[in-house]
Symmetry: C2
């Protein structure tokens, strides 16, 4: 293993740890909605696309290895893993006509950045779990597991996170300088190009690392936030949401609570891609076949808009607190999210006027046999 493959992401990429009122554990119901919406698709995908015989399994003892890349601190990852194990067990049973007790043993690798709160994750493991559990710290934009040892990879709501903000968009000398916005809103061609290039590079790095780890015939489910083809972030509700966060920061700069310079150098390391873009990247990468490419329909964004502003407020903080804290300092975190909460309440109706909504891509890949 080449040592240069190991790198770390900034601490701020981790969700808020612990299990307190501001933790990701307590504020990930949006992501839970994504998990629920994808559950049946995962089950169906395993039923139709997983072939134990081509994976080299026979009906004797064997270990089936699963990894959740970007699992955060739970509890969503546990629902996901239990669902995968159930579906894989059923397929195994169907292929080998064996009655339970199955001889198959499951080993699950829970991955997230090194600064993720693994202590909380481990404390909330179910004591009656039917798998051997391990924590796998480190960025998934690099190798994490030995060659050809993984049978099923899963990554939900992570790959829209870039490994870094593209340098150009926070460089005042670059034509891609994104002054006045904290995201890739789609309004400036050079900015979009820089974000898109970073996304392409990161996805390719991810696919290459996984291609080494996953056995031929092994499956990978990727769920990630994206946009319908041809739609910009500024046209979608979620883009307006990030713009509101940006406008809080502008207000704070005007009040002298944060510096103008800090504001200008702050951009979200997020890129919402279209299915066309992703398809192209996977094809050029060449290690996987696209078995399913679809989008999830889930109602939680729409429902939240109407009934539960808390998800917008607390959910955003659980995800973005680390970034704000690292860039602007811990002393302004509280104020920023107070501003943001107020701004959300005051402007909640704008979401109803959004011309478009983002989508969640559901992609099932199969590793080519070499």
């Amino acid at each position: 293993m080449a040592t240069e493959e190991i790198k770390e992401l900034p601490k701020s990429w981790a969700m808020v740890g612990g299990d307190g009122p501001q933790s990701y554990t307590q504020n990930s119901s949006y992501q839970k909605g994504v998990v629920d919406a994808s559950k049946e698709k995962v089950t169906e995908g395993i039923k139709d696309k997983l072939d134990f015989k081509s994976l080299g399994f026979d009906s004797s003892n064997d270990t089936f290895r699963i990894a959740d890349f970007g699992c955060s601190v739970g509890p969503n990852t546990f629902f996901v893993v239990e669902n995968i194990i159930e579906a894989v067990g059923q397929k195994y049973h169907a292929q080998f006509q064996k009655s339970p007790p199955l001889e198959l043993e499951f080993q699950v690798f829970f991955n997230d950045v090194t600064t993720n709160d693994f202590n909380t994750l481990f404390k909330t493991f179910h004591s009656n779990r039917k798998y051997f559990a391990t924590g796998l710290p480190g960025t998934f934009y690099g190798r994490l597991l030995p060659k050809s040892t993984l049978h099923f990879a899963y990554s939900s709501y992570c790959l829209q996170w870039l490994s870094k903000v593209p340098n150009e968009v926070v460089d005042s000398k670059s034509p891609a300088w994104n002054k006045g916005s904290i995201q890739c809103d789609g309004l400036k061609k050079e900015v979009t190009k820089a974000y898109s290039a970073q996304f392409q590079s990161d996805m390719n790095t991810f696919l290459n690392a996984r291609a080494q780890e996953i056995v031929g015939g092994g499956l990978m489910v990727i769920i990630m936030a994206g946009l319908p083809n041809g739609i910009f972030m500024s046209q979608a509700g979620v883009g307006m949401y990030y713009d509101l966060l940006g406008s809080c920061l502008v207000d704070m700069a005007k009040l002298g609570e944060i510096s103008e310079e800090k504001l200008d150098s702050f951009n979200l390391p997020l890129y919402y891609s279209s299915s066309t873009e992703i398809e192209e990247i996977i094809k050029v990468n060449g290690n996987f076949s696209i078995e399913i490419m679809d989008s999830l329909s889930h109602q939680i964004w729409q429902t939240s808009k109407k009934s539960n502003i808390d998800i917008f407020v607390s959910g955003g903080r659980a995800v973005f607190q680390g970034l704000v804290e690292e860039h602007f300092g811990s002393e302004v975190v509280e104020k920023t999210f107070e501003h943001f909460a107020k701004k959300l309440v005051d402007n909640f109706s704008i979401f109803d006027g959004a011309a478009h909504e983002h989508i969640d891509h559901f992609i099932l890949l199969k590793r080519h046999f070499n």
Copy 2:
């Protein structure tokens, strides 16, 4: 995997986490001495006893899996693992006459109880490490890994820790009630019998779990605190050390700082076994052959006695704080270790009068082929 195999140990079994002045990380130089003393033995053991061909490796790609059972929060575990990897790499090279770069990939499982501070462990991983690292939370008195997937198991300074204090020794109605002592001092036959039975049961559980995980021909190094054959704890310096901790608690009970009842129900979950006892347990268990059984000579206990009382004070706290806190409450922790520090300073000369010293067993086992 039978779900009843998963159990948890009390939180108090974990060493003090973090990296502050009272942490295990900062106060494990005694254990580091043990690591240093065993380094050469581990290297020699791998050279002489590891056979890649009988393990089923060929000269093509393969993964060599190592686990450190009871790794705590580092840094000792990193030295251990790096040494093992170096020795295994050399043996692989010798057996297959391959020049580097070796195709062998290493996967390392860092195990400790679920309440161990894995966050600190992960943050201190070396970024240039030459292995894939995972955290393996859970008690090693149970299965932790899939069947026949481990090539090298290691456990240093953990197996003298029992899974629990034997019930009888804290039961006022039992002939094995250990009133007046907090340890198995060897002075009361019934107490020794109860401790010894618990040790036998725990060791057997440990060996059975590892026997399922380790491949035929795989090796296991066990280093554990013990006593020379025929010697009691009360005759050894370390026994006097625990007795001093006990006498602090007696003083505190007299002063009304802790209750008499709490004192009587407190015993250390520690058992220092003889090599004869261990040999018998391994033979009866039947899954492993004893390849090397030896004791380590290291000078740190003797040196510490003379020059460095701090190791006795801080090292003890890093290890025993959890137990004191859980049993007597967090409010008396500070006072207990203040008393203990004073008592150690006042009575330091008694260690020079100790008739015997404990020993550190070094055992290298090989898993039988089924």
